[in-house]
């Protein structure tokens, strides 16, 4: 008898699973059930479809029901909902959404790739016309129809996560004057707050009206089909459309009803081969719980890459192969108003939350390529590493160019248990157009290793208000005059050697400069001359992130 595999959900994880199954078992009967009329939609492209950057909607579908049938002999049933799982007789009950016909389908293996659904808070007025969530092609169609008919000149995004920021940029590109409301005191909570500053500056530079640290109280109907958004603090924002992008939650309705175990994260509990508590049922993608590779915390593979990997692993497992999912490393990248932000591993916020590691933090702002070649722009980087052995725990990079490349390299290092010493001696691509003899990754390793070896003790920006220390800025006088940390004194690096006799031997000196490099030189000099000195890592540029 040929194996019969049913897959609930035909997006990234489900479609990957189906294609992999076919490659492993040419005789299996493979059926995908998908509620929507489409399968295999690259949902990461939806904001760009909404913004008109992607003009050909068909390109968003990597596969179509037809291509899956013709190429892979996969039976795709779109606009078909799986209503329940009858585990005792290994069957699901399905309903065709067009014909309303119901049927029962038997399985040998069942894969739940049900994805996630947008969180839609119970705010007064959330069901008013003009309020949208963006998760499916259908959502983009609805929004576009609304914009084309109402022709609003303003729109509001609620939630400054990835989808929110991408929608912000894309609707701005359509000529809409944008507002952004975020409950947290920062944009892009996937980053630590100070690392999100360059993004916030770019957003504000693009005439977006930003409200941080305030939630939405509700919506009222406005004039001409418009809306009024009310915030906690009593602000009212007139807008022509509102995009609610405050997160997603795993769609576990089927799994729960069938009594499958649910994990702490709210997604379906699975083992590393993606098998649920029922040995004949697997769960993958946004619906399945995984462990974070650095913190060990339960989480969900919300990115398309790990999600489709899970799909392939489930297929392997169904076919008796021993593949395992190594967990979610938390690599995330996005671009908004010309700034790319990328992160991998754990953030400082996550490490503080789990308290699992004694870690150290450094910042740096290297150029994305050789400074002597025209067009170099800085990348602001943050590296988190174990104080015990230099194991890299996380990294964040934000800049106009090259941030994703550096995070990719560090992501591979984290995967392989790499330390900051490995980054120091990585041999990376250098040509003046796209690198430096000491690449940003090397510099990150060097700064971190210097801190770890005790060559460059680091102070923490959060302790800046410590009255016992002397804050010394070693930039040149004109740079200092332009702006500086309140209460700091100025001793230009080239004068330090001569002015050392005037410095207090009994007080710890915290040294800053533009981006941290000259401060390092100064600290080396001070330490060797008997002073207690620390670098404020990342210099004035990082200070601006912390205390803006």
């Amino acid at each position: 008898m040929n194996r019969r595999v049913l897959i609930v959900g035909g997006m990234a994880a489900g479609a990957s699973c189906a294609a992999r199954l076919r490659r492993l078992d040419d005789r299996a009967e493979i059926v995908i059930f998908e509620r929507q009329p489409w399968v295999s939609v690259a949902s990461c492209g939806l904001p760009y479809l909404a913004g008109g950057v992607i003009r050909d909607e068909a390109r968003l579908s990597v596969e179509t029901p037809r291509s899956l049938r013709e190429r892979f002999n996969i039976d795709v049933r779109t606009e078909t909902e799986v209503v329940s799982i009858e585990r005792d007789r290994r069957a699901v009950r399905v309903r065709n959404l067009r014909t309303r016909r119901r049927a029962e389908e038997r399985y040998d293996a069942l894969v739940l790739a049900t994805g996630a659904i947008p969180v839609r808070p119970q705010w007064p007025g959330i069901d008013l016309p003009g309020v949208f969530c963006i998760r499916t092609l259908g959502d983009v169609h609805s929004l576009s129809t609304w914009i084309d008919s109402i022709k609003p000149d303003r729109a509001t995004v609620i939630g400054a996560g990835l989808v929110g920021l991408e929608m912000l940029e894309n609707l701005a590109a359509r000529g809409l004057r944008m507002s952004l409301i975020e409950k947290m005191p920062q944009v892009a909570p996937v980053l630590d707050r100070e690392m999100a500053e360059p993004l916030l500056r770019a957003i504000e530079a693009n005439r977006v009206d930003v409200t941080l640290g305030e939630g939405v109280a509700g919506f009222d109907a406005g004039d001409n089909g418009g809306l009024i958004v009310r915030t906690w603090g009593g602000r009212t924002i007139r807008t022509g459309a509102a995009i609610v992008a405050v997160g997603v939650k795993a769609d576990t309705a089927l799994a729960k009803a069938a009594g499958l175990e649910i994990g702490q994260s709210g997604a379906v509990r699975v083992d590393t081969s993606m098998r649920t508590s029922d040995p004949n049922i697997w769960a993958v993608g946004d619906a399945a719980e995984a462990a974070h590779t650095v913190t060990g915390e339960p989480c969900v593979a919300s990115q398309a890459g790990p999600a489709s990997r899970q799909g392939r692993i489930a297929a392997d497992s169904i076919c008796g192969r021993a593949s395992t999912f190594r967990g979610v490393q938390g690599t995330v990248a996005f671009r908004c108003f010309g700034v790319t932000a990328a992160v991998t591993g754990a953030t400082e916020a996550a490490l503080r939350h789990t308290e699992a590691e004694d870690f150290e933090v450094v910042y740096l702002h290297p150029d994305h390529h050789a400074a002597y070649y025209p067009g170099a722009t800085p990348i602001s980087m943050k590296i988190l590493f174990s104080r015990e052995d230099g194991l890299i725990l996380g990294a964040q990079a934000v800049g106009e160019s090259g941030a994703e490349r550096r995070i990719d390299v560090i992501a591979l290092a984290i995967q392989k248990g790499g330390t900051v010493f490995d980054l120091e001696e990585a041999e990376l691509c250098y040509a003046p157009q796209f690198g430096s003899a000491r690449d940003a990754v090397n510099l990150a390793g060097m700064v971190a290793a210097n801190a770890l070896r005790g060559d460059m003790p680091v102070a923490h920006w959060s302790d800046l208000r410590n009255p016992c220390v002397l804050i010394m800025d070693v930039r040149d006088a004109d740079e200092f005059a332009a702006d500086h940390i309140e209460g700091s004194i100025n001793v230009p690096l080239s004068e330090l050697r001569n002015r050392m006799p005037d410095l207090p031997a009994c007080r710890e000196i915290w040294v800053t400069c533009g981006i941290g490099q000259r401060a390092y030189y100064a600290v080396r000099m001070l330490m060797q001359n008997g002073f207690q000195a620390r670098v404020l890592p990342g210099g004035y540029r990082t200070y601006c992130g912390w205390y803006s």
Copy 2:
């Protein structure tokens, strides 16, 4: 007594060594001797200075004699030549090239950072005016003066290595009609031949007259200050300037005269702390021999990154710290006429030469970002890995965008002893503008792992003329009609299932397509239906590299 360290050579490796020494020992007396009037020149920028891309020459000097003195208290003696090493009394004899004054300088530690000198073959006429090597700022000045005075409309580059190709592009950017002569049958011998094809196409598309597989016989004087270049094959090329870029060799004159051990590569033999056979002398950069991290072969750190790392390691060693140089991994990247080529680890040529590993090869041509987002361009990749355990031995990538990023990730993987399975499950940055859910690096890992696991046996392009096999192309009929491998048959993937009964069961089938993906699907289908099948990796696009 304060330590006295003399450094011969003030470019990347020497200047790094000096700066690191100062950070480790604030009291040491540090003297740099440099023949040229400049120090710390980013020589990788010279072609771009020659081409006018870099307009401000001063930017090429990361440090100046003055900045080294003021910031680091380093005594820099430019236009000063070290004439000999008097090892018995730990001294060097120096001569000031301007004043011609001679002196003897005592050292506790001596660092040879003498770099390399361009190979200048004894071709007839090589000393004619208009023939240049490009290694120093002075060389660029001479060339620019020549071009400004003679105003040639043509120039010829001899040697298609990195410097040659960069000069080619930069002189073309100045409006010169360029010729290129290379003795080898390919451009960019740092790559395997088939991987250099996209570069060659870009060079030819930019109206460069290319002569491959032919050396230079000599130069004759031409009209109006011009030159005639004669090749082995009897071609004559009229040109206004000739750039000889046929490699460099370690400048070991001082070391040899002093009786220091010289390695197989012709550079000074050192241990991993960069110490020579004399315990008080270190050698770094282009002058020092290192081991290749993959092949173990003796080589030289010709790139600025490893060279400056060696400088820092020598400084550590001098100050009693146990840093070691891990070897040269062979990461090289450059850009020419809009194409970036990047390589790390060993090439196939190098692996065949050393015969150390039983390796396998795969090719692929993934897009540099999501295909659905406008502007995706392909990256041609080659991955070399151990047949035993999947250890990555080398990788090459060539494309308009994103090649350097993928090689950086693989470079880190090689450094950490990573396998193709690690690449498969790497969690990398994905946003539609700069990545795909399955990044090029993931795909490289998947293709290689499929080959290794036996899921996708690969054929080798070099065996294509094997008459026993059937070459089957699974592209659609119109694609096949446009161009295909001679002697291949066409069975579109979507028809394969039905046409299987007509295929010969006794003959091995080698499957190709556009870039290898459909061939993989076909091979999976064939294998599961009892056929002997292999993929021709990289499909028709790789075929074009092999048999162009």
